[in-house]
Symmetry: C2
Subunit: 606 residues, 2 copies
């Protein structure tokens, strides 16, 4: 499978883009015309640069408004096209995208469009060029790929085929099953983009909100499988118009884009039965079960003693100091908190790493390599457990290790001079909330879905006193791992994400009231929830007065859905991190979204 | 006319919001329930604070899902409502907003909803409370204010009336003429919001994109006039859900919001004939003709000599130094550029001020005072022309002065030791492009529309190599003044707006080729446009080869629309500013949008 990407997907000058795409491992690019027009290099210089970088120039795009016009207008089309064909020869290119007419079409007739495409094909063929005709979702008359194919079929010219773009087809809800009717060799090009399902005009949706495969809600595995099964053997090319990717570092975005195609290749390989001839060289990623739990969380700071005091009050046990590093371990049930003072000069406490338990650590390792995810490194000595990890887009280090059969994982034995684990109602980690820079959330989504087989569970906006916090929850199957990813309002964007919006770890308890009460006896002061909040709980839920009084007394948050109840309390924030303690009654699946705005306001007062 | 604002419009804690609204001169507020729930103050303390600040608490909101439900659900509604009525008594409030049912409605029957509102009214009346029923645009059954009014009419209860919200009515395209059918005393409350016309689901549009009056595309003057004519005498209250205003400084946003109501009061006063009794105390702003031209632009820097050299090359005349300040004047035709080195230590050149010519400077002055716009101050001596100005939201100082009948304005006489103005093909200022911080664009729009009667002419996104630049053009009637306001992509947001995206002044010429050629002879080097750009011009327009060669030779941009042609060239950027020279052939109305991306790329190379 060959990979390609439209230069409009990423930022920078055309030369920047070519370098970034080559470095990221793409085989070729689509030249987006405005990028060429703005480039100081001549077409010959661009062709030479691409050649030197090993990139093929796969598609020149777009040529607009070429068919469905009257003869006078078509004469102008041919004149303009000829100039572009000459330009393409200078670039050494042989395929051009013609989109269905949006601006100048006056004739709604397949025969006219077919005739004009045929004559354009004659002109193109003289330059050794082929035309890929694409139905735009908002084309004036031609807005459906099945109609575009009928027109191409009628044009019946060897230099005229179709271009299929997943966005134009799936955004309109058109059934990709019709792709089977198109001979593979008449599919001249394929453009791939994912997108969230948005209710807005399709042009704005297309121009601003496309995503790389795996980040949105389109079924791209099915779409692409149809194309492969139709016999298409050309490149899989990304065309993603996105306001964020247009401004982020092109090298980073190109790697991110390439990773999305590796994910898609895997998904398509799983979609197409082995037996079919079309599957070709498509390769699956190493199988890796999703994580079965959180192995540890690590808080890093120059001085972690305020965190130690807090964990002690909350019933965690100090399990001692690592035998080779300035690192301590605190545990409660299966919750393990590593406090790290190494290489942390000047750091306020922040969530620096998360460890996940997996069934096959080797497979995750291979998978991360295939996805070209940057790797995390921690020095380990011969007598220590190996620590494999990757760096998530927000900078958090994510490690993975074989799940222990029973009891503590082996690495716990590297900590010395600790106490024996105490009984506690805390049983483990419920969720880990990671604050994301606004320009990393899509990349982070792909990191967790492609790397660890998590899936997007829900998205919501949480109103805080300084703006809306966008929250997207990723979960492992069975909710064994839950990662809410939160983006702070942009006015805070110049700060570190964790400083703008603290991160937190939520620990799950059998009896959160007991944990809260025991902590209070050890001197713990929770984040104070306002009295008005409890008046509202009393108005909304039919709880007894005593039950509400108990919530108020312990500063517990409360929520209920059809499946169960949620009780929880928060610590104060230390540096960039705080903790939450939660109890899920029955099958409550949320995160107490009603309490979060109150919590954000209370945190704003600190 | 009394003014009010929902606390959800602005950022901060509830106490912050009350202070900000009082400082901005609002008479009252709507208490948005989540703000109260998150507040540490008791209801009595909030009531006392509001009293001390002179704010009335006009509306408690929202109460959801109260009607169209079965009897079991309605019993829960009454229980919940009673708790809220008790809370409202503690706040000393007597009006609550009930929105049409979105979540729990199962009965689509006016009679049922009317009966339930009547019973809710009975309960409310016992607490001295009235209910304002509002049709949400996305209500499950009740989504039209006319139906809400039918239900209220049928409920026929003195404690039950309607709330009319401009967004819910105008977003759906419902004709506000129906308001005339509602007796004024049954309109219990009015909520006002403007919005851009967006094609998206109405709930997202409402929750994220509302604007203050005068900033969007709704005809709020007409809407509000209908309400006044119906005999409504309650407060005009703003309810604006907007992602930006939720995070900006609440004091600034509250002033901005209050200004929008002053603008609306004027617009409504002009809409309602004098003779009607309903007009009441509505007061117009002082009449002020829109500006008739640009008086001057000012570039400020510690050292302006690089700008002087450039202006000299371009044919401007040095008209000397100001007699009391380190300021020089350069002119060409009616274009006047003031170079200011005062109080500019460490500044790179930036566009610091714009002077506008107006017909009635005194009226603009009064108008700015009424709008409570912050004033600009420049020291002037007894023998000098007075300089009245205001500070635009982006920090640019905007001055206004009586237009001169003929020749130079009087203040030019304050400059000494200059040369006599030379002949030049430059005739004046075509447009001034001001870079805006992303969180100031709406406030800036209101500043220019309310203060100077400009109007929004067009909006577009310009793709640059580092992201999309959002551009909104404000023009005076007759296009005597054109101000494109540009917002840089957010990745650059941590920089000063002008540093992220340079500002520029475009000068208009009779013969831009002559200006370019003459400048070249004086050593001027324009911003270089790439050869590929000219190949595209040759392909797109039927220009002679000689004509394209001349454009290429002079680095001229070229555009054409149905009305005419546009030829222009750019200087290099110095500090945060550059200049453009344009020639408009016939009635071309644009700004060469096709060239802007090429220009942004060329500027990125500097």
């Amino acid at each position: 499978m060959r990979t390609s990407i439209a230069t409009v997907c990423i930022s920078g000058t055309l030369a920047d883009k070519l370098h970034a795409c080559a470095d990221a491992g793409f085989d070729g690019v689509e030249i987006f015309e405005p990028d060429l027009l703005a480039a100081p290099e001549s077409p010959e210089e661009i062709a030479a640069l691409a050649g030197r970088l090993g990139l093929s120039l796969d598609l020149y795009q777009p040529m607009r408004d070429v068919e469905g016009v009257d003869e006078a207008a078509f004469a102008a089309v041919l004149r303009r096209a000829e100039a572009k064909f000459q330009l393409m020869r200078r670039l050494g290119m042989d395929l051009v995208l013609c989109c269905s007419n949006v601006g100048t079409a006056t004739i709604d007739d397949d025969a006219v469009s077919a005739d004009q495409l045929r004559r354009l094909g004659d002109l193109a063929a003289g330059y050794g060029i082929r035309i890929a005709f694409e139905a735009l979702a908002w084309g004036r008359y031609v807005d459906d790929y099945r109609r575009a194919w009928r027109i191409v079929e009628q044009a019946d010219h060897p230099a005229v085929g179709v271009c299929l773009d997943s966005f134009h087809i799936l955004s309109r809800g058109h059934d990709p099953a019709g792709i089977a009717a198109i001979p593979g060799d008449k599919i001249f090009f394929v453009q791939l983009a994912d997108a969230p399902r948005l209710s807005m005009d399709v042009l704005s949706w297309s121009r601003h909100h496309r995503l790389f495969p795996g980040e949105g809600e389109f079924d791209l595995a099915d779409f692409t499988a149809r194309i492969v099964e139709a016999g298409y053997t050309g490149p899989w090319s990304l065309e993603v118009f996105n306001d964020t990717f247009r401004q982020t570092d092109p090298r980073r975005t190109a790697l991110h884009a390439r990773r999305s195609l590796r994910w898609l290749e895997d998904a398509v390989a799983r979609e197409i039965p082995d037996a079919t001839t079309h599957r070709g060289d498509l390769s699956m990623l190493p199988d890796s079960a999703a994580p079965s739990g959180v192995d540890f969380v690590e808080v890093k700071a120059e001085d972690t003693s305020a965190i130690e005091e807090l964990l002690g009050q909350l019933g965690f046990t100090s399990r001692g100091r690592h035998r080779t590093k300035p690192v301590t371990l605190w545990t409660a049930g299966d919750a393990r908190v590593v406090l790290n003072e190494q290489h942390a000069r000047g750091w306020e406490p922040r969530l620096a790493a998360v460890g996940l338990e997996v069934d096959d650590a080797e497979a995750v390792d291979l998978r991360m390599n295939e996805l070209r995810v940057p790797r995390a490194y921690r020095r380990t000595y011969a007598t220590e457990e190996r620590l494999d990890g990757a760096i998530a887009p927000d900078g958090t280090e994510v490690y993975w290790a074989q799940a222990a059969d029973e009891g503590d994982p082996a690495w716990v034995g590297e900590f010395e001079h600790g106490e024996a684990a105490r009984e506690t109602a805390i049983t483990g980690v419920d969720h880990v909330s990671l604050s994301q820079p606004w320009d990393a959330i899509e990349e982070a989504t792909l990191f967790y879905t492609a790397g660890f087989a998590l899936r997007v569970d829900s998205s919501t906006d949480v109103p805080g006193p300084r703006g809306l916090v966008a929250s997207r929850v990723l979960v492992a199957p069975g909710s064994t791992v839950r990662l809410p990813l939160n983006v702070a309002p942009p006015i805070l964007a110049s700060q570190r994400a964790g400083a703008a919006l603290p991160q937190h770890v939520a620990f799950v308890c059998d009896d959160v009231r007991h944990v809260a009460r025991a902590a209070r006896e050890r001197g713990f002061a929770p984040l104070e929830m306002p009295a008005n909040y409890y008046d509202d709980i009393a108005a909304r839920f039919d709880l007894s007065e005593a039950a509400v009084d108990e919530l108020r007394d312990l500063h517990l948050g409360y929520d209920r859905d059809d499946a169960g109840e949620y009780l929880h309390f928060y610590t104060r924030t230390i540096g960039e991190v705080f903790f939450e303690f939660v109890e899920r009654v029955d099958a409550y699946a949320g995160y107490g979204a009603g309490t979060a705005p109150v919590r954000l306001t209370a945190q704003g007062r600190r």
